[in-house]
Symmetry: C2
Subunit: 459 residues, 2 copies
């Protein structure tokens, strides 16, 4: 949509009343000039050289075309929200408390909203105090701030294999080394975690935290079992490693009550991240962190430095929504909608793609599909897009190049019918790939692979 | 308001169904336990050790009491906004485009809003393309991202003396060394800039950018003259130094047309930062950066890593406001309101505090007051608070401990009458200090100074 081809734009325009336009033409000591090249290529910080567009981002440009069934994105489906009622509530908020909603607020976040966050978290067994909560610009910002507080370049973050692509981007931005620990159908494998931490300690590596998504994992779709939760905590504690529990999907389980959060088992060893993006709406960008006292203080300072304060307009809108609407029932409606979509996807996979295998998520947005032997999810993607279906290659979810044998399919946004149609199309692509594998031994390498876009042209 | 005294809270609660509560009691290798102490003190990144609460932040707790006339804060006065009409517009937005407003958006920001930003910037002679604009969570986030892109620990940022306290906090967070360059009544002194950059180059220091607030400077209240603008640019260009032009107040001038922005004179050497916080409302947290093509691409990547995307709800609300309201006339009304307050403050200073000197700002929110000889703004602050008036000590605006002979007075928020009362109270405090100086030679040191709060108890 936005041209982004680096063409010269010729938009240098003399300013009205400019006394000395020579400033525009002098080249001085700048390495290069003109808009095609990067004049500042020699000036970037070390961390900037590792920046690159995520695979998912590069994919969005094509996957968002209406004729493509996108099983790629993680956008919640907002069609079920009572939009007129929300509009009414927001109207009243602005008309009665407008000068507060539109003003700067506290760096830690609105006190009433922090109390309401406690009500939300209580559903997962978390007991905390409003002072323990820091409101952030989505839980992504909380993750950025936690990483900022703890990571020196070269420090290790331990994360599940696979792991949330947006977290891997943050860890890379702070020049952390990510070490993956396997998960299985019951989530992160405690024995593997213990071994990994022992091995890293023996190698003299500094592990700063374990990053984990215990519920309805993105992308793996699995949930850390109740039995493993205290074991994971005990292992992290024994190794002196903080646990960052990222829990955007915890209330979106398809059966029974929400599992108790790890934060309900431990207070001092966990930074818990929560979000309204999946249970209400992401457009407000409101998430939160719950952290031990001293860490929480530093999170507030770091957030003030980064954004001064979170949006009062967003916070008060969410606070009003929680106050005036039956949000628990809305979450229940979301659960039922997503369960129906999960069923559509799992059913279609069973029907059309029997040679693959997949996780059956008990909540959340994603299933993690293992392709038949010899297929490469990254190499297959252009053929899938040509067949008007999109997914995310498993390689996006590893810091170390693994994952080409997997793809992430999301069932959150399209209708059940579109999901079934998308899986049908995908099955056709997979089948064609399998035939090629049978004939040539491999399906990969026949054409240019979509690897990560070349990204910033840095030396 | 929020207790923050580090007392043990005893809120560890067993989780329902917890299988192995021993995770809560095992101490393992963590250095310390309990909520009074920081278990993670040995885990923080190097940058975290430099984090501390700003002087302004520590002050807010007392200055916000209603009986205190606060000449300390930088909150815009929103009383003049047509709140009912804004509520109507927002209602319509949510009722008709709710699923867009409440959904994730683009990392770069809403395209329509980026076009509207161009209309705003055209008032200051800036010609750009919507692709050049990145929407951020307030311009504070833009500043954080620019610093993130360019600063390695130990790199130099050159900034005016004094400089915006929030910028100094960001530079410290990325472990930059700030080198100050003097300003006078016409803004940054070009000759001093040239000398400083020459000296730093000779010393082998890596200067990454010049941070400058050319219009109605915070805190100094001065404006970079038209004649100096191209000279500053030429000097920066000659030394290969990027210019970060921070311009939140540019449209809030009290006489004549807005000056052309430095960005109107140069395209490739400047990252321009703008904001709706002062011309509309800070509660949405919407600002922007305009950057050369390659830098802009990296800003988007950095912002996606930090927050995924800016709030669609906020962006679309502002976009609707700009579309449906006479925002130019609203800015004019703000200008007139702030001019009246400026006049009240300058008049009161002339009447009550003739031994001090001050800048007479031609726009913006602040005047910069030099105290009579021998007085110390930081030491005087507790006495001022006792006399029910607050300001910010000049020391907040330097990275190097200067500034105790100055204070920043803001005239943006209180009514003219309250401003006059505040200056009267302050004059009484200054007069009492002067008498002490005459008797004892100094007024400082008689009692505990309010220095920066002790902050995180880091080794």
């Amino acid at each position: 949509m936005t041209p982004d081809n680096g063409e010269p734009t010729g938009r240098v325009t003399p300013a009205p009343g400019s006394a000395a336009p020579q400033a525009r033409t002098s080249t001085g000591s700048r390495p290069t000039q003109g808009t095609r090249l990067d004049s500042w290529i020699g000036s970037y910080a070390d961390r900037t050289h590792g920046m690159r567009a995520s695979e998912i981002r590069a994919l969005f440009a094509v996957a968002n075309r209406p004729e493509v069934v996108s099983l790629a994105g993680g956008m919640p489906n907002l069609a079920g929200l009572p939009m007129d009622a929300i509009a009414e509530t927001t109207h009243r908020l602005l008309a009665t408390r407008g000068t507060t909603a539109l003003q700067y607020g506290s760096g830690q976040g609105d006190e009433r909203l922090r109390e309401q966050v406690l009500e939300v978290m209580r559903l997962e067994g978390i007991e905390a105090h409003p002072d323990d909560v820091v409101i952030t610009t989505g839980s992504q910002q909380a993750l950025d701030l936690v990483t900022r507080l703890f990571i020196n370049p070269g420090d290790v973050v331990v994360a599940e294999a696979p792991s949330y692509v947006g977290a891997l981007g943050v860890f890379r931005a702070y020049e952390a080394d990510v070490v993956h620990v396997p998960l299985d159908e019951h989530g992160l494998v405690p024995e593997a975690l213990d071994e990994t931490l022992t091995r890293l300690a023996a190698a003299g590596r500094r592990v700063k935290f374990l990053y984990t998504v215990p519920n309805f994992h993105n992308p793996a779709g699995v949930t850390l079992s109740l039995e493993r939760r205290p074991r994971v905590l005990e292992i992290a504690q024994r190794h002196g490693v903080l646990v960052v529990e990222d829990n955007p999907y915890g209330l979106l389980g398809f059966s029974g009550e929400p599992l108790p959060a790890m934060r309900s088992l431990d207070e001092d060893g966990i930074v818990y991240l929560g979000s309204f993006s999946k249970t209400f709406a992401p457009g407000y960008r409101v998430g939160w962190a719950v952290a031990p006292h001293a860490v929480r203080e530093k999170l507030v300072l770091a957030s003030e430095s980064a954004i001064l304060c979170p949006s009062n307009a967003s916070q008060l809108a969410i606070s009003s929504y929680l106050e005036n609407h039956d949000w628990r029932n809305q979450v229940k409606a979301f659960r039922e909608m997503y369960r129906e979509r999960r069923d559509a996807m799992i059913g279609a996979l069973g029907e059309h793609m029997p040679e693959a295998s997949w996780t059956v998520p008990d909540g959340g947005f994603y299933t993690w599909v293992r392709l038949p032997d010899g297929l490469d999810a990254q190499a297959m993607l252009p053929r899938a897009i040509t067949a008007l279906v999109a997914y995310v290659s498993g390689t996006a979810f590893y810091a170390d190049g693994q994952g080409s044998d997997h793809m992430r399919l999301s069932f959150c946004y399209p209708t059940p019918e579109r999901i079934r149609e998308g899986v049908r199309r995908l099955a056709g692509v997979v089948e064609a790939e399998r035939e090629l594998v049978e004939i040539f031994g491999t399906a990969a390498g026949r054409e240019a692979r979509i690897v990560e876009p070349p990204g910033p042209d840095l030396a």
